[in-house]
């Protein structure tokens, strides 16, 4: 495990960009690496805190299992939704081939 606060490498940035499906070129990788390293350098400050036994807080207001009544309600108009899609066919979203050239 890398220590919190250590600078992020260009290889890390390239990997993260791929995971996030963002095509960026080498010059952008270099630029983003420099900027993100500076931001992440600041993050080292929380290493000074003793967080033993502290429960993580994922949301401010602890609501759980929020359900509505199981009754039929109007839904969005399918034609209207599909009209704003980049491509549609037979009342479905149309996409390029799923199995393609990239591994």
């Amino acid at each position: 495990m890398t220590q919190s606060g250590s600078p992020i490498s260009a290889a890390d940035v390239a990997k993260v960009a791929h995971l996030a499906r963002l095509d960026i070129d080498d010059a952008q990788v270099e630029n983003f690496t420099e900027q993100l390293a500076k931001v992440m350098g600041h993050f080292g400050d929380i290493d000074a805190l003793d967080l033993t036994g502290i429960e993580p807080m994922t949301q401010p207001y602890p609501l759980v299992n929020v359900m509505r009544e199981d009754v039929e309600l109007p839904t969005l108009d399918t034609d209207e939704v599909l009209a704003s899609a980049p491509a549609a066919e037979e009342r479905r979203f149309r996409v390029p081939p799923i199995v393609g050239t990239e591994g």
Binding site: H42, L49, P56, Y61, A85, P86, P96, P97
Partner: protein, 479 residues
Amino acid sequence: MATIPTTASEIAAAVAAGSITAREVLEAHLARIDARESEINAFNLVTADVARAQADAIDADIAAGRPVGPLAGVPIALKDNMCTHGIETTCSSKILEGWKPPYDATVVTRLRAAGAVMVGKTNLDEFAMGSSTENSAFGATRNPLDTARVPGGSSGGSAAAVAAGFSPVSLGSDTGGSIRQPAALCGVVGVKPTYGRVSRYGLVAYASSLDQIGPFATTVADAALITEVIAGHDEKDSTSIPQPSPSLVGAASQGVAGMRIGRVVDLPGGAEPEVSARLDAAFEALAAAGATIVDITLPSLGYALTAYYLIAPAEASSNLARFDGVRYGLRVNAADTNAMYGATRAAGFGDEVKRRIMLGTYALSAGYYDAYYGKALKVRRLIAQDFDKAYESVDTILMPTSPLVAFKFGEKADDPMSMYLCDIYTIPTNLAGHPAMSVPFGTGAHGLPVGIQVLAPALGEEAMFRVGGALEAAAGGAQ
């Protein structure tokens, strides 16, 4: 033509009484937009035709003696990350350019039912990520008080619209200060209600555990009025809290006699000296109005920035995965879906959005989750515990809204960290889920406005508006 009142409450009263028509009010505001919008760029879209139809419908209701809502004929501008049925909603991003939502956000439905008239969709930092509105794909918004300077952000267009008199009130969204900071920089009132007070249904998500919609206004009472209209439970938002909308307008003039107001003795530094001086003056004014000033400590506050800039990007990286060129917005065609995703997102997102998506993806990725995201969630708990302890001895807390007055274009645009530091005093309440508001309180460097921030515990809007109203009265009296 009759004189157009300046506040939303006066406009609604005059329109309901028939002393002025909604159409007259609207045309006066559209004329102001025509005169100055090319200089300010507050709007991505001015919806003059929609507004005229809404205003005429209100006037028809009044002529026929039908009842009208509490915002009858009040022009309002909406941040362009709130869905409006059939009306372009872009988030100031190329990836959503031209998209017309198939439904209205709940706040839009509630405003319409209250009789408000929608004048347009306002500019923002792309997907609400920024503190200057310089990150918009459609050009920056200028501060109406000094057009060489930024209006703040990310709701810079909504703040500028109210400051320029384009509409008496507007809505923004606040994830880490995006209502309060631009309110401070433009010299208007801005409110972030308690997390869950206002439905997020139809608000394009940035960071779902932090986002909250709230108003901009020229007066504290108007901000209270808009909050009353938009607040309240909504079953379409599973994080909407069950409490009914609170009664707040009266609180703005109730005074602060007997209230306990916290002064943070270990407040993180970085505020301009003139801003700190205004904070001191605010404490003096509230003490003179009968409040007791109590020293408190918030020892974890200095770590809020790090927690926020891990949590918000982590949530953003997940939320923005939906922009993939399949269901709406931009698509860059490619041989297969994976290549299409990468090309579409590269072309559609601006650099700040890409930075935050990558930062969040990194913080959530295998091997780094515990060191970054997991740790940030624990810091968030510490900050919430600090506030809980402080609110045992005080009703509200006062601090600056922004460490700086409005800065010049380009001053921080190339240095993300210096831009992030603009949020140092606003993000702690988003992490805790508490309400906070910014009230103009005099001027600082270059004669530019300074905003003082009033913080309150969850569901503590009434106390917050009492203090906000007292600050407004004191600021007015000093002028």
